[in-house]
Amino acid sequence: MATVRELIDETPRCRSIRLEPAEWPGHRAGQHLDVRLTAEDGYQAQRSYSIASAPEDEGLVLTVERLEDGEVSPYLVDELRPGDELELRGPIGGYFVWEDSAAGPVMLVAGGSGIVPFRAMLRHRAAADRGVVPRLLYSSRSVADLIYREELTDLAASQGVDISFTLTREAPEAWPGHHGRVDRRLLADVAWPSQDRPLVFVCGPSAFVETVAQGLVANGHAPDRIRTERFGPTGT
């Protein structure tokens, strides 16, 4: 069990939940956990959420996007209050994690709330203050839908993280970032060149991850250097 300590609105559809777990073995940046809700009649629903906080942060933070037809996310985003308790299982996963020992260039590609595990990775790296400087490509519908925008901009400035944004629906007139969906050309523009054999993490909705992974392979990236995490209606 974990107690809700703080709720932070990130965007109109996303909220961060800072939790204080009764017991927590510690996690690695990029891991996720399962949240289980039990209704009064005993009906249970369980969903996986990426952990948004770095291992060295105080408290455990999840950032949840509300799915209009979701069973769990509308409750977490709209109904949850400080002091409430949540049943957790985790940390989970060992494939989509950032290791301190990671050598060589690292590329992160996020679609929508696929940015969440990367926040944990970037904060972890900033706390360790060593290792490779990653590049991040973040695709979002609009400026209003960008999660952690300020924090990411600060990281870019203070840590030298090379961040590229692309907006797929609405972009303000003076938008300095990219427009449109991630494609081969944009990947070739912003990713580390394939000859450098970067380790690439891709997280987002299934169709996004599929397109990006295929684009990377078409651009010459080795499939065994690409690590993906997909989420869909049942996983978010």
Partner: protein
């Protein structure tokens, strides 16, 4: 229906094996493709989750929660390499 990946069944596999399994690698019994469990294509909107080979798309794994217990059938996937948690942690 869109496929997720093996990360989506990591929690259930952990409950079953008591070890983080998604970094374990194996080969598809149908076509011989080698993949990590995290790389399987997972469909989990049914009563259970089905893992398919990322190459030939045939079923290699079925995970079902039954009366509070997680059951895993992995007949189509031959484990060839233990998860990283066995070797590095």
């Amino acid at each position: 229906m869109e496929a997720l990946d093996g990360n989506a069944i990591a929690g259930q596999l952990y409950v079953h094996y008591r070890v983080e399994m998604t970094t374990a690698a194996g080969t598809c019994a149908h076509c011989g493709t080698r993949a990590r469990i995290a790389e399987l294509r997972v469909y989990n909107r049914g009563p259970g989750a089905v893992g398919r080979c990322p190459s030939c798309e045939r079923v290699v794994m079925v995970v079902v929660d039954l009366r509070g217990h997680t059951r895993v059938h992995m007949d189509g996937f031959r484990l060839a390499e233990p998860p990283e948690s066995f070797t590095t942690r």
